[in-house]
Amino acid sequence: MRDKINIGYGQGFWGDSILGPVRLVNEGPLDYLALDYLAEVTMSIMQKLKGRNPAAGYATDFVQMLDRTLPAIHEKGIKVIANAGGVNADGCLQAVLELARKKGIKGLKVGVIDGDDILSRIPELANGGHAMKNMDDGRPLSEIQDNLLSANAYIGAFAVAECLAAGAQIVIAGRVTDPALVGGPMIHEFGWSPEDYDKLAASTVAGHIAECGAQCTGGNYTNWREVKDFVRIGYPVIEGQSDGTFVVTKHEGTGGMVTRNTVVSQLLYEMGDPNRYLGPDCAADFTSAKVEEIGENRVRVSGVKGSAPTDTYKVSLSYNNGYKAVGQLTIAGPDAIEKAKLCADIVWGRLALDGCEFTDEEKMVEFVGAGVTHAGILESTQPPEVVMRIGVKSDNKAKVNRFGSEVVPLVTSGPPGVTGFAGGRPKATDIVGYWPALLDKSQVQTRVRVEES
């Protein structure tokens, strides 16, 4: 057992730059590499992919990343923890083993964690008295049960630690929480128990700081002019200690910065009640964390307090919730805003002429450049041009597509100066609804399995 480990966090979300993990592996010391590939809607996309091809349904980005890094990871003995399994962790495992064989790497141990995917068990669970009401508004599951696309429980760090204890160098999970990708290695290396709430809470805080990659090293930072070398921005490295204290840093010579302010910024990201941040393994009190700069690009976090978790897992369900389409055109000045407003009225008017009407709730118009993101706060009255974004949503797909055909004609049949129609007709796409709920922990059993190349 060690008393200190380095965990790099190389991927903040599905779609993050491949340079994050590639450079973490190549540019500095690392014991563990944690990678997050999932977002709330990702699981539904993966279920659809798996529906079309039983071998799909995991994050192929992960395998592409390993294609560039596996020899170095193998040689240096870096352990990798990724929730790249999506809804097909086994498919991901087979792809990684195949890649290892192709690269002539023998004896690579790859583990999977499953049990988080509860989609096929929803009817049985619902009939068995597990209500899974919408956590936000209390609506009953029956409202959406026929339209479900995915259903997953947020698994905690102990399953990750179990997979490491089983000998895996690469751990592929489905829906584990983002902080568990950091907590798992700490539990495994430091021998923490499920009752070590303060330490588990500290690992939750560490994971929360790192879980969006470069967002704690200068990315998305308010005082962006202070940030040097965005191009080569370093991804975070957590130096964890067995007592739960940790240092946030980045590799020597990389861009960006780690300061009290960049770390505090990320502590606040997607924060609810800071006194009680609930996860599967503990409740963390973010107001107990002491954050201090102890050197250049080194911030120590200590004193974190935690308490027992609840007896439920958060589960995330997604469902089909109709269709949407958004189109955009650029309207040049003079009088860009006035003309853009006329354009929007023309679209709604022509649709109405053809018997196609939408309610106010189904319609959306924005004039980007006039004050959209800062509506009512920062607005411009005479910008040289604006982008009109216009969209609808509806349960009726044909109606949404009918809307899509009335945007581009404005170029020749509206006011002057309308351009930028390169995207063509906006087409109806699925709206994926998100349904957060709670489920008794006793209903979810995780399993780990390790295979070797």
Partner: protein, 104 residues
């Protein structure tokens, strides 16, 4: 005492929480923390975001990091993939709050 924008001495970060957003704002010294605790009332934040947030606003304090955290319900036009808005995740709401002027 002069009127200054929060952006002159405070920093912020925001993101999505279901159909709403969270806006975290923090400062770097105790005097400024007392100031933002006094000035940034829920009522004032509601008025500031009146064209963005249409639901309940809750305020939390994290004195250890000299921060306040606001939860703005119904501020994303549905949130997630349901929203048609440009900023469906509320990522810009933090910068929006920093545009507010306070006496300092």
């Amino acid at each position: 005492m002069t009127k200054v924008k929060l952006s002159e001495f405070a920093m912020a970060r925001s993101g999505d929480k279901g159909d709403g957003s969270n806006v975290g704002i923090f400062v770097t010294n105790d005097a400024d923390y007392e100031l933002i605790k006094r000035e940034l009332t829920v009522e004032r934040v509601r008025k500031h975001f009146e064209k963005i947030c249409f639901g309940e606003i809750t305020r939390f304090e994290a004195p250890n990091i000299l921060a306040l955290n606001f939860l703005l319900r119904d501020s994303l036009g549905g949130g997630g993939s349901e929203s048609l808005k440009t900023d469906a995740q509320g990522k810009t709401h933090g910068l929006g709050l920093l545009e507010m002027e306070v006496e300092r």
